[in-house]
Structure formats: structure tokens, C-alpha cells
């Protein structure tokens, strides 16, 4: 049963013609579209190596039937940073040595981005460890991963704070009739 999928991956529209409905989103990304940054560690939803953002939510892409994701927006590790600048999570992973072999790393990074977007951790290490426990790392870079996510949380909070300050200042000035 051939079918045609429309996916927006990292902001780019993709049309994927499938000869049958079996492929997972992970295999479509890796083997059809050629985005191999997302890894397969188990194909069973047990390791997190395949984590991507599907319509903004972190998911194990090996558990998503590609056919069910028609029309969806997908962000993979390749789409996280624009113009060579690293996402704060990526930068924090490097600085905190949050990986060794790097095989789990795309999944860890996407999972961390998703976790921070969920906004439930409050930067608390215990909650971060819990929230990152769906992503196995056999090299056991866990101390670095936790430190990196805390670090990224702090940076993103600070950046958010600055943006809020800027907004407030702009609004103030607008109220007082000054040019922005």
C-alpha cells in the first residue's frame, strides 16, 4: 500500500513516498530523508537515542509510525542550531563533558531541549536526572549531562530574564513617548 507523507523537518518541507506503511519516523528520517544525526539504539522505545521533537514535544521517533506523523513538524538534532551557532544545550554539553562516544548525544540533547521547554524542572538536579532518565548513556556521562542541563537552564533563564527586561524597558519608553 503506497502512501505519500508530508513532513516539515527542521523547517523544510519534505514529501516522502513510501511503498508500504511500515517505516517508523526514525527510519524515514535516517534512511529516506538522510538525516542520520538521530540515532537508533534499541528501536523499542527503551533508550532515547532516537529522541526528536514532534510538534514541539520530545518523542522516541522509533515508536512513531511515520504514516501517523503526516503533516507534522519535526525538529531533529540537525535543526537545533542555525548559522553555526550552538543552542545553549549543545554548548553546555561540550563545556560539561556531557558525552563520551557521542552516540546517545543527539537524543540527550533533544531530550534536554524538550525537558527545558516543558518547564517542570525549575533547574533542580534531582528533577533533571529524573526527566533525563529515558535517555540511556552507556558511557555513563550522567554527571556531565545533569550539569549541562542545569547550566543550559541557567543560561536560558538569564537570557529570558534579559529579554523580559528589554521588553519592559521598551514598553516603559513607549509609554513615556520616547523612541525605542
Amino acid at each position: 500500500m503506497p502512501l505519500t507523507l508530508h513532513l516539515t523537518v527542521n523547517g523544510e518541507a519534505h514529501r516522502v513516498d513510501l511503498t508500504d506503511p511500515r517505516p517508523t519516523l526514525l527510519d524515514v528520517l535516517r534512511e529516506r530523508i538522510g538525516l542520520t544525526g538521530t540515532k537508533k539504539g534499541c528501536d523499542r522505545g527503551q533508550c532515547g537515542a532516537c529522541t526528536v521533537l514532534l510538534d514541539g514535544q520530545r518523542v522516541n521517533s522509533c515508536l512513531v509510525l511515520a504514516a501517523s506523523a503526516d503533516g507534522a513538524e519535526v525538529t531533529t538534532i540537525e535543526g537545533l542550531s542555525a548559522d553555526g551557532a550552538l543552542h545553549p544545550v549543545q554548548a553546555a554539553f561540550i563545556e560539561n563533558d556531557a558525552f563520551q562516544c557521542g552516540f546517545c548525544t543527539p537524543g540527550q540533547v533533544m531530550s534536554a531541549v524538550g525537558l527545558l521547554a516543558e518547564g517542570e524542572t525549575g533547574g533542580d538536579p534531582e528533577r533533571i536526572r529524573e526527566g533525563m532518565s529515558g535517555n540511556l548513556c552507556r558511557c555513563a556521562a550522567y554527571p556531565g549531562i545533569t550539569a549541562a542541563v542545569m547550566d543550559a537552564f541557567a543560561r536560558m533563564e538569564a537570557a529570558e530574564g534579559e529579554r523580559a527586561d528589554d521588553r519592559a524597558r521598551t514598553e516603559d519608553r513607549a509609554r513615556q513617548g520616547e523612541p525605542a
Binding site: T36, K39, D43, R44, C47, L86, G102
Partner: protein, 758 residues
């Protein structure tokens, strides 16, 4: 921290290194050279390759452990749309080498469809090649194998126990010193205990993967390997082609831990498949296929007998191991050998026996022998300390080995005392109550503290490297090293830059491809020492050639200095007697009209040093656990380790290696176990839902301290190794902490809640 500016003693280097020093780049806690690639998804692992025309292969795993395959429904598989070919023993193309032969001592027998026999569950019994992964997977299901099964032999009662002369990789299976029975008879305190450790599987996050392609009689392989250059000869021998016809590309390895160092049956089948269909073939193991044909840590049953005098000094140390292997090959986990070198005892005996079961052949898994053996040894030492009424650390200090207990040789260096002190202080060990069940946390959980000593040998293999200085003053260093997470691309490049006397950003470090000089094996914690020595001497050799040109050139400010009278720094040669007189590499080469100068180097152990010294990394690990008094739920709340491993090339990466090893210790102590169905012999938990490894939430606090140690014998660079030692002290430390929390001695790994509930 290790003294980073210690000059290398030039007399012990193979090539003259008088011009270069380790220390400008080596010793710096640089972030990973491949960090950017790895956090952006651009680091290319084997399975990421998709050459044009590529097909997918999936192999079928036996679901019985012993017997014969009587039927495969090849027609049904072939009829499935997309299936291109099916390989079975009936049509498998010939191999030039018998998969059951052992042409050299490190060769393991492999399963490559040589017949219809099944000798362990998970053995490959057929392979399907298809246009898509989905079609190959479906074809594999459609083969629906039928078997004539024979009873699986999965325990001591059904398996054959055999005597052996060899344990591990060619180590003698028996060591005796003094009279153990007399030592035990004379002891004031005696401890005898039996420990068991289960089969464990490496389970690197990257499953074994290969993309194989033939170009005429050249074989091109994208696959993760811990020994790129060495593996070419191995693969070539199966196809009757010269080793130089095999190209192995392995830029990144997604974790190996010993499982990616050897030829395996499934890899050979993928190569055969590519030849059969005349197209590139990709084959990636499913997670359950990581349990079987790629080695594992064999199960052990160990018995320790310790005698101690009233003052706590050992009078005898007896360690025997029964190690499980396959029905058809001989690798035995050398567990008892872990007691050779740790504690002083006038009488010692370490012995092994083998047990044949219907499992895949075990092999090296992170700290083979040391992990299992030290787990038992450190527990037994704790029991002996208790019997003597002594603090566990004081007891170990009373048995501190000033010379190697096995050989009587001096240690090349041994800062274990400093490790004990550093880790104990950081942990806050003093004031620990001797008796168990004395401490509780705020929530009423039992708290226990335990410790263990860590030790790992410092082997060196053989490696070669090539270093080139170019006309623009940049350098290139080439070696087929393996980046598998330990940080080879970073640490080895640091050594390479120092060897060439240039800044790291002026260096092009090329690695991970078998066409480059043989980088040896990333294993045995010996890669940095071996490959690093080759790289450093290659750089020094290139600089020496450059110096020869300069001192003989009247136009050079270095003219007239003796060859040993110049030294390299920052891409310049300086006169030693007048450092203000110097010249850039580029200037020297340009005047000489040369586009480059190339040096070569080798890394290997100095045989004289090997004969005269015992060489080990050492460490101490302290653990805190909490145990829920009603539910016996276990948490490892703190781990502190301190390690002395000679020169540390990159403290940031070394620390990660050590904490990673310690977390493997948590997995060993509390999680990892393969459970086989006794009827079929099949692992019942061949996935991450059933085979547990530590997750982030299991690891609230792990710390590794680096203890300064200078070693002038282990190799000219003074480098030991940090890859495996972390696991060795940790398992015992956790088990001993569990006793201290609960009063229950745990002797079977992994420790389960029900054991503590009694």
C-alpha cells in the same frame, strides 16, 4: 594533579626526543575536539553511511541454544516484495578460513553459517537481503526456522566442568606462592565466602553495525572497531585477500567496551552478502542481537579463603574461580587473577576452572577479570576486616603491598596510599562506626559506608605513527587510532602537538582509518599510552630531521648548534644555549626548498622495564548507600574515587572515563544480569527494559579525584591508563556499604532487594 611539565626522559624513547617536551598541550583540560560534531549530529557512525545502491541485511537469530536447524522457509522469504536474496548454510559463499579455526591465540571461533548446528541462542542461522530495512526484517520473520532442539546446558549441573591452563588472554590459570593451607591453619581469623557474578552484555549504545562493499577484490568496510588497522588482516584471512585490500573506516565508535575488538560472525555474513549481491550491504544489529555473537562478560562463581593474624595481616589468600564459557571455545573470565597484585600475603593461590554452557563465547568486557575478581576480593577483604574487628581502610593499609605480591618486583609507581587518603578525606570516612546498622538519614533510611581498592594493569600494545611538518609550519599526524568515547581524538592530538612542538590549532590529526599507520588496539586501557608513545616519537623524529637541516645551514640562526642543542616550541626551533636565537619551521623548510619533513615513531613497552617492574594504575573508591528499612530499596547516594594513573593527558576527559567506570560499578553491583530461560537457553531479558543499566536518576553523586603520580618506567611519557579501573573498586565498595547499612553480607551480584530482606 600530575605534574604536567615533567620533561620526558629522552634516553627511554625509541627515537631522539631531545627537542620536544610534553606539557604545552598535554595536561590541559581541553574540551573534546569532536565535541561540536557530536552535539550537532554530524559525527558519522557506521550505520549512518548510505552508499548508492545499498541494500539492507537482517540476520536471523537462533531461538534455541543447542540443536540443529531443520527447516527455513526460504521460498516464503524470497516471495516477499523487496527481498533480494536469502543466505543460509546451503548457499553461503565459501570462506578462505574455517570459522572454527583458531589460527592465532586471540582468534575466537565465529558463527558464519558453516553448518546447520546451533550452539547458543542468538547465533546467526540465516540472513535476508532486501531493498528496504522493513522488507529484510519481514523476510527474516518469514523464514520461520524449525529446529531439532537438544536440551540446553545452562548451569553447573548440566554443563561440563573442565581444567584449564589458560585464563583470559593467554594468562596462566594457576598461580601459587607459599603454602596457603599452612597460612590458613596458622591464621587467627579466617574468612571463607562464595561469590557469584552473572553473564553481562556490553550493550554499547551503538549496536554493532557494518556497511560492506566490494570493489573487485577490495573490501571497503564502514564499521566501528577498536582496532582498525589490525582488523584488516583478520577480515582478509577469511576472504583469501591481502590485508591491504581491506579498508576499514571507523571514525567514531559508539561505545565498545571490548565488544568491538574482534571479528564476529554477523560481520562476516554482511561481507559475504555484499559479495553475493554485488552491491553494498548495510547490516545493523537489533538490540536483542547484542546478546549472543558479540561476546559478553562470562558468569563466574568464585570462592575466597582469607587467613589473617591477630594484627590483621594476611597469612593466606586463596581465590578460585569457575568461569563459564561456550561449548565450543575457551575464553574464561580470569577473575581470580584480580588477586595477584593487590594485597601482600606470604601465601597465595589463584586458580581457575572452566564451565561449558550453551552460551555464546564470552570475551573482554570493560576490565575483564579485574571487574569480577575485584568485586569478590574487595567483599572478602571487608569480611576479613570485620572478623579482625578492624576498620576496612585500616585493614587494607595493614596489607598494603610495597612490592608486587605476584612477582616480588617493585612497582613502576604506586600512589595508592595517597588515593586512600584523598578519597577518604573527601568522602568523610573517619568516624565511621565499625558495626553495621548504625546510621540513618533524615527519612529514617539505613545508611551504610563501604570502600574498595581499585587496580588495573598498564599494558602496552604496538603502534606506529607518522608525523609531518609542512612548509607553512603546520603539522599532520596520522595513526589509525580509535575514538570510542575515551577521547582519543582530543588526548592523542594533544600529545601529537607536543611531539611536533606546535600549537594544537596548527595540527591536523588524522585517525580512524585502517590505511593509516597501525594505531594498535583501543583496549586494555593501553591505547593512550601505546598510540601516544608512537605519536610523540613520530613528532620528535620529524623535529629531529628538521633540526639536522637547520644546524647544518649557515644561513640559519641555529647554525653550529649541535643537533641536541636546539629545542622546539610553538612551531620554532630555539638554541638551548641562547633561546633568543630561533627560527620558524616554515623558514627552515623554505630555505631548504622542502615542502615537508616526515618522521616516524613506534609505541611499545620497553622490554627491560617490563622485566624489572610491576605496572598498575591504582585507586580507592568509597560508597554511601541508603536502604529503605521496610522495602529494602537501594540508592547509591554518593561515590568518591581517587585514582593514580601516571601522567594525565587531559584531566577533563580522564575524569569522565573514571566516573563512567564507577557508574559501570553501580550497574555491576545493582543492575546488570542476563537471565536465561533454563529450558531454551534464551536470554529472557535481551533488551533495555529487562537488562538494566544505570540511568541518570541512579547516579546522584559521583566524583573522581586525580592523584598526582610520576612514573618513569611505564613508558617514556609516564602514561598509565584510566579506561577500566573505575569499575574495579566500586562494586566491592557498594556491596560493603550495603552490609554496613543492613548487616547483610551480599555475595551474589547484582544485589537484589530480596537478598537484603532476608
Amino acid at each position: 594533579m600530575t605534574d604536567m611539565i615533567e620533561p620526558v626522559s629522552p634516553d627511554t624513547l625509541a627515537n631522539g626526543s631531545a627537542h620536544v617536551r610534553l606539557g604545552s598541550n598535554a595536561g590541559q583540560p581541553l574540551t573534546r575536539a569532536d565535541g561540536r560534531l557530536k552535539v550537532t549530529g554530524r559525527a558519522t557512525f557506521a550505520a549512518d553511511n548510505r552508499p548508492d545502491g545499498m541494500l539492507y541485511a537482517v540476520y536471523v537469530s537462533a531461538t534455541i541454544a543447542r540443536g540443529r536447524v531443520t527447516h527455513l522457509d526460504v521460498d516464503a522469504a524470497k516471495a516477499h516484495p523487496g527481498v533480494v536474496e536469502v543466505m543460509t548454510p546451503a548457499n553461503r559463499p565459501p570462506l578462505a578460513r574455517d570459522p572454527d579455526a583458531k589460527p592465532h591465540p586471540f582468534a575466537l571461533k565465529v558463527d558464519a553459517l558453516q553448518n546447520d548446528r546451533v550452539r547458543y541462542a542468538g547465533q546467526p542461522i540465516a540472513l535476508v537481503i532486501a531493498e528496504t530495512l522493513e522488507a529484510a526484517a519481514e523476510g527474516a520473520v518469514l523464514l520461520a526456522p524449525a529446529y531439532a532442539a537438544e536440551p540446553a546446558r545452562m548451569d553447573e549441573a548440566t554443563g561440563e566442568i573442565f581444567a584449564t591452563e589458560i585464563a583470559g588472554f593467554g594468562n596462566p590459570a594457576l598461580f601459587e606462592k607459599g603454602d596457603v593451607e599452612a597460612g590458613l591453619a596458622a591464621a587467627a581469623r579466617r574468612v571463607e565466602a562464595r561469590y557469584t557474578t552473572p553473564a553481562q552484555y556490553h550493550n554499547a549504545m551503538e549496536p554493532h553495525a557494518i556497511v560492506a562493499a566490494w570493489e573487485g577484490d577490495r573490501l571497503i568496510l564502514d564499521m566501528p572497531t577498536q582496532a582498525p588497522a589490525l582488523s584488516t588482516a583478520e577480515f582478509a584471512s577469511f576472504f583469501g585477500i591481502p590485508p591491504q585490500n581491506v579498508l576499514v573506516r571507523s571514525p567514531f565508535i559508539g561505545g565498545g567496551f571490548g565488544s568491538k575488538a574482534f571479528a564476529t560472525g554477523p560481520y562476516l555474513l554482511a561481507m559475504l552478502a555484499a559479495r553475493m549481491v554485488g552491491r553494498p550491504v548495510k547490516m545493523v544489529h537489533r538490540r536483542d542481537q547484542q546478546f549472543g555473537p558479540v561476546g559478553h562478560r562470562g558468569a563466574t562463581r568464585q570462592t575466597l579463603r582469607l587467613g589473617a593474624a591477630a594484627d590483621g595481616r594476611l597469612t593466606a589468600l586463596d581465590h578460585t574461580a569457575l568461569s563459564t564459557t561456550s561449548s565450543f571455545d575457551d575464553f574464561l573470565e580470569p577473575a581470580a587473577n584480580a588477586s595477584h597484585n593487590m594485597y601482600a600475603s606470604p601465601a597465595m593461590r589463584m586458580a581457575h576452572q572452566g564451565l561449558r554452557n550453551d552460551v555464546g563465547t564470552p570475551g573482554a568486557m570493560r576490565a575483564p577479570g579485574e571487574a569480577t575478581g575485584s568485586a569478590a576480593l574487595e567483599c572478602a577483604m571487608d569480611e576479613a576486616a570485620e572478623a579482625c574487628g578492624m576498620d576496612p581502610l585500616a585493614f587494607r593499609l595493614a596489607n598494603y603491598a610495597e612490592t608486587d605480591p605476584q612477582t616480588g618486583r617493585p612497582f613502576s609507581s604506586k600512589a595508592l596510599r595517597e588515593c586512600y587518603t584523598a578519597a577518604a578525606e573527601r568522602f568523610g570516612w573517619s568516624g565511621r562506626p565499625l558495626a553495621p546498622r548504625q546510621m540513618r538519614d533524615d527519612e529514617g533510611r539505613l545508611v551504610g559506608w563501604g570502600m574498595g581498592s581499585a587496580l588495573f594493569p598498564c599494558p602496552m600494545f604496538e603502534a606506529e605513527a607518522r608525523a609531518t611538518i609542512h612548509a607553512d609550519g603546520t603539522g599532520t599526524v596520522e595513526i589509525s587510532a580509535s575514538e570510542m568515547g575515551q577521547g582519543a581524538l582530543t588526548a592523542l592530538a594533544q600529545i601529537a602537538a607536543d611531539g611536533l612542538g606546535i600549537d594544537g590549532d596548527r595540527l591536523d590529526f588524522r585517525s580512524g582509518d585502517s590505511s593509516l599507520p597501525n594505531g594498535g588496539i583501543a583496549g586494555g586501557s593501553g591505547h593512550t599510552a601505546t598510540a601516544g608513545s608512537a605519536i610523540f616519537t613520530a613528532g620528535a623524529d620529524a623535529v629531529r630531521r628538521l633540526a639536522e637541516i637547520a644546524v647544518a645551514d649557515e644561513a640559519s640562526p641555529l647554525f653550529g648548534a649541535s643537533n641536541s642543542g636546539v629545542e622546539a616550541r610553538g612551531g620554532r626551533l630555539h638554541r638551548v644555549d641562547d633561546p633568543s636565537r630561533s627560527e620558524t619551521y616554515a623558514a627552515i623548510l623554505s630555505r631548504a626548498g622542502l615542502s615537508s619533513v616526515t618522521g616516524e615513531g613506534k609505541g611499545a613497552r620497553d622490554p627491560a622495564a617490563a622485566e624489572s617492574r610491576a605496572m598498575f594504575s591504582h585507586g580507592a573508591v568509597f560508597a554511601e548507600v541508603t536502604v529503605d528499612p521496610d522495602l529494602a530499596q537501594i540508592r547509591v547516594t554518593r561515590l568518591v574515587g581517587a585514582f593514580a594513573a601516571g601522567r594525565i593527558v587531559n584531566p577533563r576527559l580522564a575524569t569522565s572515563q573514571l566516573t563512567g567506570g564507577m557508574i559501570w560499578g553501580i550497574g555491576f553491583a545493582l543492575h546488570e544480569e542476563t537471565v536465561y530461560d533454563p529450558r531454551t537457553g534464551r536470554p529472557m531479558n535481551a533488551d533495555f527494559a529487562g537488562y538494566h543499566v544505570p540511568v541518570n536518576a541512579d547516579v546522584p553523586s559521583v566524583e573522581a579525584l586525580l592523584v598526582e603520580e610520576t612514573d618513569r618506567h611505564v613508558n617514556a611519557l609516564g602514561i598509565k591508563g584510566v579506561g577500566e579501573i573505575g569499575i574495579t573498586g566500586t562494586v566491592g565498595a557498594i556491596a560493603n556499604a550495603l552490609w554496613h547499612a543492613t548487616g547483610v553480607r551480599v555475595r551474589d551480584f547484582p544485589v537484589k532487594m530480596e537478598t537484603l530482606l532476608g
